[in-house]
Symmetry: C2
Subunit: 355 residues, 2 copies
């Protein structure tokens, strides 16, 4: 087991336990037999996930002097409900068929409709049910956060961070839709999406929540650390995501090979490809990127172009540079040595992952 796996594993089992406890507490409200498929989808959605966001929150808390407190794990685990909500909705918005190697929520409800031979459009039923599943998870995430059992003063100090994170998540996703629609794909636009999508929501805010919960106030060094570490880890995390979306092993990512190419995602990897492409290579990218019918051959050709332009190497170098920045940001921060090591490990884990 690597050091980075340890920083995550410590958190994972406690987060899993907290999620089970919370969901079990909700079950009496959702016990009608007709609701069983909705509850099963909640259970399955929460069984996966890397638990990175709760881990940033936990190590922030420990970094500002917090002890091992079940209430903190509950608050941190609520971030997984928020993330599960975003994924259920994301898959509807992107019309994605798979999530972690299983049918996405809307496809799952669509299959339920088809199998039962119900009335009306199975696709529309699937989308509607997935929207409601995401809403239920969103509502429950806020409830789990609020009822974690943390001291009121801690929750009150962190509440503005929490509220801002949720507003920014929804707005950031809207900006992401816009970027895809604009089809700009400059280095700047790719960086902005990475910053909003991963930097702030997945790293900066979870870390800040943990720090502010423990410190019970938002001290300037907290914001400085979260902005620097969050920005660099978040962007490197997203760059890794971009590479995995094109070159990832379907057995590990749970997504079909080259899925991002079929979706036509405007990532830094593609921006770098286009910037260094010959006219013939650029033509190949423009012709095939975003073709939903793109087959294995087309994926192979696009992958070759991306590699030949040096875009993969350029992105790997960026990941290394951002990782170094992240590690640098930890050096002078007045956090506990234990947390400094764990956050360094988490930065490595978030940027060198294969799923």
């Amino acid at each position: 087991m690597t050091a980075s796996a340890t920083a995550l594993d410590l958190v994972r089992s406690e987060v899993d336990r907290s999620l089970r406890t919370f969901i079990d507490r909700q079950r009496p409200q959702v016990s009608a037999p007709e609701l069983a498929p909705l509850v099963a989808a909640v259970d399955d959605f929460l069984s996966g996930g890397k638990r990175l966001r709760p881990a940033f929150c936990y190590w922030g808390w420990r970094g500002a002097g917090g002890g091992d407190d079940p209430a903190l794990f509950t608050a941190a685990a609520s971030l997984e409900l928020l993330q599960a909500s975003a994924l259920a909705h994301d898959d509807v918005m992107d019309a994605s068929d798979l999530r972690r190697g299983m049918p996405s929520a809307h496809r799952r409800f669509q299959a339920l409709h088809e199998k039962a031979g119900w009335h009306g459009s199975a696709e529309q039923f699937g989308e509607g049910a997935a929207i409601l599943l995401g809403n239920l998870l969103l509502v429950w995430s806020g409830e789990m956060w609020r009822t974690s059992g943390l001291p009121p003063a801690a929750l009150a100090a962190a509440q503005p961070v929490y509220d801002h994170m949720r507003t920014e998540l929804m707005c950031g996703q809207y900006l992401d839709l816009l970027e895809q629609a604009h089809g700009e794909n400059t280095f700047d636009s790719a960086l902005r999406v990475a910053l909003f999508k991963s930097g702030k929501y997945s790293v900066e805010h979870p870390l800040r929540l943990g720090l502010v919960l423990a410190a019970q106030e938002r001290e300037p060094w907290i914001d400085r650390l979260c902005e620097e570490y969050g920005r660099s880890v978040g962007i490197a995390f997203q760059l890794r995501d971009d590479i995995l979306g094109v070159f990832g092993d379907p057995a590990e990512t749970g997504k079909p090979a080259g899925d991002d190419l079929r979706e036509g995602k405007r990532t830094m990897l593609i921006a770098r490809t286009l910037a260094a492409a010959s006219p013939a290579q650029a033509e190949e990218v423009r012709r095939t990127l975003g073709d939903p019918e793109l087959g294995a051959d087309g994926v192979g050709r696009l992958r070759r172009v991306i590699e030949e332009t040096g875009a993969v190497d350029a992105c790997e170098k960026m990941i290394n540079d951002y990782l170094a920045e992240a590690l640098g940001s930890l050096e002078d921060a007045p956090i506990t040595p234990e947390s400094r090591t764990a956050l360094a490990d988490l930065a490595v884990a978030a940027t060198s992952r294969r799923t």
Copy 2:
């Protein structure tokens, strides 16, 4: 001005003011120029609405001895954000083109995409943006509720009611999708949908929130009143909705004539029609109900069948009976006389409305 209009008007201007204040407080977070269409959609969505749910909450509060408190109006007004969220998502789920006579949220964003000539599917962009708009409204509703300024003890007493309401809203909408998919359309199933869709969410819980906020505890008489009044007003409200969905004036409802017929909604009105229909009439209903292409002639024929079977009269009688039950439930409740009168007025307003 009728008495029932007064009970609502008293609330409406304060609710409008509270919503404006809250949204203005949020604006700095959403000031990026690219977010302008999202913020404009929030503004427009909140400018309409009958404010019935805040009115039930306000008169519950007054009924249990609460005074005129701006904080209560803020908490009550947050129910309009929750409702706006549900409407934005509902229109995506039902693929509805119109809302209050204007393009629905997803059509509005679709038109933005089309007009700008952006990349990708305008329809998919519209749906994605409307899902995110609904999410933003949902998140903001919880934030507005929590930051209303009401005493912590009042909020703590009402919080379980609030949390349960939101879980039940999502589950109730899922049950509604299921009922449409099952196509059962018995009296029982139509009543169950009416109870969950309107009884609990629109009347019972808002009223209970106001009462518990003022009483700061959930006394047995509060639950008894809310269940009886909520059930009867809610069902009568939904029956009126069903009639308006078939016979309403488009200029007043903001929906095309006979919209519910094209959507094939399984309402009490349709259940009563089928129960009393001749074989030829039943065949006509089965053949045309739910046909998205149904024209004015088809709507006219279906309306005639519904009227000739006596289903409209039967539903009007049910509305009257439920209204009488609602008024009866107020008689022995230990609420202030002023609130008793206002809640009676609101019951009339909710069930005799034309929009």
